[in-house]
């Protein structure tokens, strides 16, 4: 039996790495990948603690809806990124600084 703290430590490390990616990267899709990494790290915690709720499985169900929202977010984000690329001719976050050019 793997102790629960090892799952939590693993998820903390992944969350920190995702946050570093979100802050330091210039490319807008790389920021999106960092956000997905952070959402995944949170899902580990939900799944592990959900193992203790044998009656209603709330952890697993909640993680399932987190995945659903992540999928929706990725779809809308891709549409917005394509629109941004049409308007600004770049996906570099340090050069996209206004809502209109």
């Amino acid at each position: 039996m793997i102790p629960i703290s090892h799952f939590l430590l693993f998820s903390a490390v992944l969350f920190g790495l995702g946050l570093i990616i979100v802050f330091t990267r210039k490319h807008i899709l790389m920021v999106l990948m960092g956000i997905e990494l952070m959402l995944n790290a949170v899902n580990i915690n939900l799944a592990v603690f959900g193992h203790w709720d044998t009656k209603f499985q709330q952890g697993q169900i909640f993680a399932l809806f987190v995945i659903l929202v992540a999928a929706a977010e990725a779809g809308v984000a891709l549409a917005i990124i394509i629109k941004l690329f049409k308007n600004f001719k770049t996906v570099d976050l340090s050069r996209i600084s206004g809502l209109k050019d």
């Binding site: 790495l17 193992h51 203790w52 697993q60 990725a74 917005i80 394509i82 629109k83 690329f85 049409k86």
Partner: protein, 176 residues
């Protein structure tokens, strides 16, 4: 040491190494491939956490859906000839400060906490003992969580319509 436990730590290490590679790699397509490795390792970790259904949905939705969408986005936003998939970096100091400090705070809190209550998972109640975990989730989604499942369906419909509306070309030949 048990082979199953060794496998768990191997996949944990693989995920951490791949995520670290994502922080340092310059190439966007390499980063997408490393993200696929992280997602697949996490599916294994979910199985060890007792969440079979989540592991399968992880592979189906993340690796089969979101990752393909991200690679699609990389291809669509780099159409210029001679363009490489390079991505620069900025805000080194504050980014690393924020990421490392939240990592250290979380790790110190976890190491400080007393997990004796959480040593063994509780027994499955008698009225559920015939079910597997996946059957149980199916029954729950159709009974206790039916409303939120239907709301999720409506939410996905709205997202689809919104993404189409944002991504569509303007009608009437108006200059955008």
């Amino acid at each position: 040491m048990d082979a199953a436990i060794v496998t768990f730590y191997m996949f944990c290490g693989l995920a951490v190494v791949a995520a670290t590679g994502m922080v340092f790699t310059k190439n966007l397509l390499y980063a997408a491939g490393l993200l696929a490795i992280v997602m697949l390792s996490l599916a294994v970790v979910f199985i060890y956490a007792g969440a079979m259904f989540l592991a399968v949905s992880q592979i189906l939705i993340y690796v089969g859906g979101i990752l393909v969408l991200i690679i699609f986005g990389v291809m669509l936003t780099s159409r210029k000839p001679g363009f490489s998939f390079e991505a620069g970096t900025h805000y080194h100091f504050f980014g690393w400060l924020a990421g490392l400090s939240i990592m250290v705070i979380l790790i110190m809190t976890i190491l400080d906490f007393d997990f004796t209550r959480w040593m063994h998972p509780p027994e499955v109640p008698d009225n559920l003992s015939g079910y597997t975990s996946i059957q149980h989730i199916g029954v729950l989604l159709m009974s206790k969580y039916l409303l939120i499942l239907e709301l999720a369906a409506i939410f996905l419909l709205v997202v689809m319509a919104g993404a189409l509306q944002i991504g569509a070309k303007e009608e009437g030949g108006k200059a955008s």
